[in-house]
Amino acid sequence: MAKGDPGVTGRGRRAAPRSRKGATGDPQLVQLLTADGERIESATGPDGTEYRVDFTDEEYRGLYRDLVLVRKLDAEATALQRQGELGLWASLLGQEAAQVGSGRALRTQDMAFPTYREHGVLYCRGIDPIMPLGLFRGVDQGGWDPNEFKFNMYTIVIGAQTLHATGYAMGVHMDGRTGTEDGEAVIAYFGDGATSQGDVNEAFVWASVFNTPLVFFCQNNQYAISEPLERQTRVPLYQRAGGFGFPGVRVDGNDVLASYAVTRHALDNARLGQGPSLIEAYTYRMGAHTTSDDPTRYRIASEVEAWQAKDPIARMKAFLTKQKIADDAFFAEVDEQARTESVHLRERVLAMPDPEPVTMFDNVYPTGSPELDVQRAQFTKYMESFEGSAH
């Protein structure tokens, strides 16, 4: 073909080797704290947005405390599962910074829609950390009031909460609760695997065309259970937003400061009526998908070690130490608090009462229903047919 033929250049461009690593590379990662704990003054997003944070020493220490507590409580829950006290647990190990950073960026009026792994966000919302343990112990349905804490119930169905969040955000927008500095914003959490779900893509479409005040917060922890990221996407996930017509940004999900900055900015855009955005928090699930999973069967130790070096807590500790914001006494005090709270958590979990089976009818409808009443009566009678039944 002749030189200058547009077909040639077009084909040439397409034929250029496109590494599959493209999805897992490092493009435009917003970072304010390196893995070694070096502070970066400001970082620029793909659309030119400048990200920076300005925390007091007290606030820096507070973030560190959050990270440590969240990790410790999570480890306790994992241990409780191994001891037969929880049926299942989805550990957040490695994702603390993404959750604490985004969780602390939420304002009181903002509403969050979690998956089943957002124990760190739940903690930041001020919910008693025992709540999800009751759920996974099978003794209650979750326990917290989503309206009181502005934190929806855990959603087990992959990606379904993004649609719930979209609908909720549409409501916020239609009620006119956006457009001011004090407007409301909504955040939907999901993982890299969920981006392959129809639900999530539908949510993207609706959120976009209805200009909803919604932040899609994707924790890309590199694995959809056992499927690696390259089986989900061939472009960096944050770039998907472009196709739906809203901005996307990739942030270092192991950097609590950058996670905070990026989320705060996206939430503010949302509350001002600027529409949705997608945040890809690039992180790594250090543990198993859930306690039923064995990650050593599908990933190699060297990969885990490489991410170990990017640990969110270690870098924060290095930063606090270097900057003399915190000393050993502080770190020891935080560790001791974490230990005390985890022991307390354990004691309370073990003391959780088993619910009476008949209570399963209690919260199906706010005011009951005739059909349900019949079922309850039948069930009660059935239970009474056993010896030693108290009711």
């Binding site: 112990r137 198993a288 039923s292 069967r297 039948q378 059935y382």
Partner: protein, 484 residues
């Protein structure tokens, strides 16, 4: 609640019935902390470490490594207050407010060994008296007869109603709740699950003649097998200390039935999957390895190799690694719409262990020096023989050697491990008549068998690869000089 607490094997992953004790990380007498890892257990889903539920001193370990234990069975007992002096047998310690114990119900739970597949998803079981059942989620706890409350008015031991759950609610007239008068034998109905019925049919056992030991008086697999073996149907209580090992006993029909599980099951699945997805081709090559064996002797004589285990397999491994460098396509995976060629060789070495065939691999073996390779192989074999190979060591293999020579046979047609494209069988090295420099002489000869995935590797490539391995083994020094 006593100060001696028994820890029951929990359901580690949503509806599992058993787990295998891989390794004890503590021993009797050890002082342990809360959440200290005490044991590694492998289930159908994962190999995990279990953290200690209580701090204290290990008093007894009930199951040795390698035992498969039913969920809910005590595996360890811990003295939570070892400083308080000797333990009285009938302990009546003060209850500690914080830690409810599984209690003596743990022993009761063992008394009636739950039948295989005795999970009853529809059953509504009351909470176990004195504590929680160890099994919490998943597809429902394994309800054993011991944990169920009897129905009012029901004859003890007699089977409970057939209905596993309340009858479905009819829309209009209210159906009365099922009364407690039906029983397992009503109308000549015998309770047994379809697989058990099939087993009974296969073994020629009449279900109607059996007394069921399962939930609701249903007949379990064990009941049927016991009947088939001619032993009385009475459920023998399992003692806690004696591991329930499969006894190789033949019944009246002179057949023994061995449940397929663990390594055997995995091997079977992998082999069938590989054999019926990858089109295998096997080629053979007989090589005079006399020079190579002499080279090995010279290696052994060297000072720095004195303490190293030098085996012919080491040379074969080296030969394979060098040949892969010359033919990288053999080190690849068929991934549906693409072929993944690997720049690293995770060299699998098939090992026969007490647990069965396992194939641990040496990660990135192509980068190792001969000495490092020798050490890695020695370590691998030692770990495998000890039964301590971790799942990580067994995954990610890219190419495998199976040393069938150690069993005294010449060669075989090996089946590819799933995801690999070549596997080499290394036969016995024997003294054989061989034409050497124009004369028939006794020479050390071996046969190599190479199976490869014909989707990726053509006959030409496979042959060249095998030829190179053979060339190296025929004259390693020359091959090294020529290739490296």
């Amino acid at each position: 609640m006593s100060r001696i607490k028994e820890f029951n094997l929990p359901d580690l992953g949503e509806g599992l019935a058993e787990g295998e004790i891989l390794a004890w990380l503590v021993k009797v007498g050890d002082t342990i902390e809360l959440n200290q890892p005490i044991v590694e257990v492998e289930t159908a889903k994962a190999a995990v470490e279990i953290p200690a539920k209580w701090a204290g001193q290990v008093r007894a370990i009930f199951h040795p490594e390698g035992t498969t234990v039913e969920v809910g069975t005590p595996i360890i007992s811990i003295d939570t207050d070892p400083g308080a002096g000797p333990v009285e047998e009938s302990t009546t310690g003060t209850p500690s407010a914080d830690l409810p114990t599984p209690s003596a119900a743990s022993l009761a739970a063992v008394e009636v060994a739950p039948a295989e597949g005795a999970v009853e998803p529809g059953l509504i079981g009351g909470p176990a008296p004195g504590g929680r059942t160890a099994v919490l989620v998943g597809y429902g706890p394994r309800t054993t007869a011991a944990k169920r409350r009897p129905r009012k008015g029901a004859v003890p031991v007699q089977a409970a109603p057939v209905q596993a759950a309340p009858a479905p609610v009819a829309p209009a007239p209210v159906a009365p709740a099922p009364a407690g008068n039906g029983n397992g034998r009503a109308g000549g109905l015998v309770l047994a699950k379809p697989p058990v019925r099939k087993l009974a049919k296969d073994l020629g056992v009449d279900l109607a003649t059996l007394a069921g030991s399962g939930p609701l008086g249903s007949i379990t697999r064990e009941d049927v097998q016991r009947a088939a073996n001619g032993t009385p149907a009475a459920a023998e209580p399992l003692t806690v200390t004696a591991p329930a090992t499969a006894v190789a006993s033949f019944g009246a029909d002179r057949e023994q039935r061995i449940p397929v599980k663990g390594v055997r099951k995995l091997t079977a699945e992998n082999m069938s999957r590989s054999a019926f997805t990858a089109p295998h081709v096997t080629e053979f090559l007989t090589v005079d390895v006399t020079r190579a064996m002499k080279a090995l002797d010279r290696l052994r004589d060297r000072r720095e190799w004195r303490d190293v285990r030098v085996s012919p397999l080491l040379l074969v491994a080296k030969a394979v690694l060098l040949a892969v460098k010359r033919h990288p396509m053999v080190n690849s995976t068929w991934a549906g719409d693409e072929i993944v060629v690997k720049d690293y060789v995770n060299l699998g070495i098939a090992a026969a262990t007490e647990r069965g065939l396992i194939v641990p691999n040496i990660k990135d073996a192509g980068r190792l020096s001969l000495r490092e390779l020798a050490d890695a192989m020695a370590g691998l074999v030692q770990t495998a023989k000890a039964g301590k190979t971790s799942p990580a060591d067994m995954t990610g293999g890219t190419l495998t050697i199976t040393n069938v020579g150690v069993f005294g046979v010449d060669t075989g047609t090996p089946i590819l491990p799933p995801g690999e494209s070549a596997i080499l069988a290394f036969g016995a090295v024997r003294e054989m008549p061989w034409v050497h420099k124009g004369k028939v002489k006794p020479r050390l000869v071996t046969t190599l068998g190479l199976s490869f995935d014909h989707r990726i590797v053509d006959g030409e490539l496979g042959s060249k690869f095998l030829r190179d391995i053979g060339d190296f083994l025929a004259d390693p020094e020359a091959a090294l000089l020529a290739w490296t």
